[in-house]
């Protein structure tokens, strides 16, 4: 067992950011951490990387209870490394950045140079070894930050949104590196992501967070997907065996995929008045639950299946929505929403 978490809480002021009753993370496996913005993904990563202290609760790391005191934290941090969503590189060359972790561990220069060469090769940045680290692009910075983390051969690698704000080419490279370091070096990997397809393709297990709590049940807005040809009406995606969705142009993207994830903040919800006709590409439904959370309103809309919709408070008030309001839901499908599960 790598991590064992019991009754872990992180509270800022009066807001509970994270509240996990129990969680076990196995060694040598890849975990994805998913959930909407503000679900507590980064907070959990910070606690797992020992960069933050929980308000209450316990974390066992490799069987030992963690005491959040300087000396023990320093020892633990030498085994666990986190790569931020927006990593920062130190002033100096790329090579010096990558060698930093080794240098502070007292590794000899000759060996440092060899490791730096190896990891930079691994991330495809060998030619940048003498380049000024502050002149790199976002994707390059992420790759160098990853190389810097891998150079110290950690037991655990924690990545916060490893492919966010990175072009498609760099995304593939980064995902490949992560997979390789888990497979070849047996590094346990936990990464936070918004992309369910990324989570499904890379991770062995998925941890879903919602409002700081583990979501044990069904993942929000994840539905089975089926392609259906209806005589006379054209092609349809059948979502959750209930909703028919005519999306001809995404036929190739969805081919072979059997799941779809509809991000709650991409769904629009419009109040339907009795006399109004329903617009095409929308589903009628009723609001069954309303919850306000961190400046956003979370609605559960029953439109044959329960859809979670996230909207701004201002928009919610403008439309005067409420429980039992009849609404038209529109969700545009995008290639990134399809995955195989």
């Amino acid at each position: 067992m790598l991590y064992k978490i019991d009754s872990l809480k992180k509270i800022h002021g009066t807001t509970t950011i994270l509240d996990i009753s129990g969680l076990a993370i196995e060694r040598g496996t890849i975990y994805s951490l998913t959930g909407p913005n503000g679900a507590g993904k980064t907070t959990l990563l910070n606690l797992l990387s020992f960069l933050d202290v929980p308000t209450s609760g316990t974390i066992h790391f490799q069987g030992t209870p963690v005491v959040f005191q300087q000396r023990m934290l320093h020892q633990l941090r030498r085994q666990v490394v986190q790569v931020d969503q927006y990593p920062i590189l130190f002033t100096g060359t790329v090579g010096k950045n990558v060698a930093y972790g080794l240098k502070i561990r007292g590794v000899e220069k000759k060996q440092r140079t060899a490791v730096v060469e190896e990891v930079l090769e691994m991330v495809g940045m060998s030619s940048f070894v003498n380049a000024d680290a502050l002149t790199l692009s976002g994707g390059e910075t992420k790759r160098v930050a990853l190389a810097r983390a891998l150079a110290i051969e950690p037991d655990v690698l924690l990545c916060d949104e490893p492919t966010a704000n990175v072009d498609t080419e760099n995304q593939a490279i980064i995902l490949d590196i992560l997979k390789k370091c888990n497979r070849d070096k047996n590094v346990s990997l936990i990464f936070a992501t918004h992309s369910l397809s990324e989570a499904a393709t890379l991770a062995d297990n998925t941890i879903v967070l919602q409002n700081g709590r583990l979501s044990h049940g069904r993942k929000i807005n994840v539905y089975s997907l089926r392609h259906q040809r209806d005589a006379g009406r054209g092609d349809f995606w059948v979502i959750g065996e209930t909703l028919m969705y005519p999306v001809a142009e995404l036929r190739e993207v969805g081919a072979g995929r059997n799941k779809v994830y509809i991000a709650p903040d991409t769904i629009s919800c419009t109040l339907l008045h009795n006399r109004e006709e329903q617009q095409p590409d929308t589903w009628p439904g009723w609001i069954r639950r309303v919850e306000c959370n961190k400046g956003k309103v979370e609605l559960t809309v029953d439109c044959g299946l329960d859809l979670t919709v996230l909207m701004d408070v201002a928009e919610y008030r403008r439309q005067a929505l409420n429980v039992d309001s009849r609404v038209a839901v529109h969700a545009g499908l995008e290639p990134s929403m399809f995955f195989t599960g």
């Binding site: 990387s49 960069l51 490394v81 990593p87 920062i88 130190f90 002033t91 930093y100 502070i104 110290i152």
Partner: protein, 234 residues
Amino acid sequence: MELLLDSLRQAFMLLIAGDPELFEIVGVSLTVSTLSTMIAACVGLPCGFVVAFKSFPGKRFVITVLNTLLALPTVVIGLVVYSFISRRGIFGPLELLYTQKAIIIGQVILIIPVITTLTIAAISRIDKRYRRTALTLGAGELQMAAVIFKEARYGIIAAVIAAFGRVIAEVGISMMLGGNAKGFTRTMTTAMALEYDKGQFVLAVALGCVLMAFAFCINMLFHFFQGRTRNDAL
């Protein structure tokens, strides 16, 4: 006007001729100011790091006190230090009064708040991610501080330069604790005050020119490093 121009001309001649008295005074000034800046930096920089990084009760109060101490008049420091090192003071037996050491003690007290507050400001401007990154890569507290020091180096150098500029131009402490003894504790500023009292302006003007030249160079350096900090932040 004629007096000033005449004094300026003669002062210029004095500088060109390499007047030994003038250079002796400049030497004392530089020695005393450099030593006090170095000692104050040894105290002020770590203090700045601790205040900037650590959370402790009364942190805001400490910062407010440090900011208040920036406005401490030199004569007040002179008076307080005098009460400790005069014959009747508790450090009287050490016979520090009217020595360069006495001036250095006073000047160190004067500029520790300057270095500390400017160090706090320089570190506070540094991206918080540097600290997290160093820690997650396995750095200890001192190794992490070294990373921050490196990233904030221009701001910290600017803090030390500003402190040097403050001591080389001060007169109250040097006069009250040094006593303006010729060739021993006579600094540029105390010598200028004395020459003014005597009604002889030539040496005073010459020293004034040297002091202004120093002030100019110090300010150039200060703005150079401040500018580097801003450019780096872009």
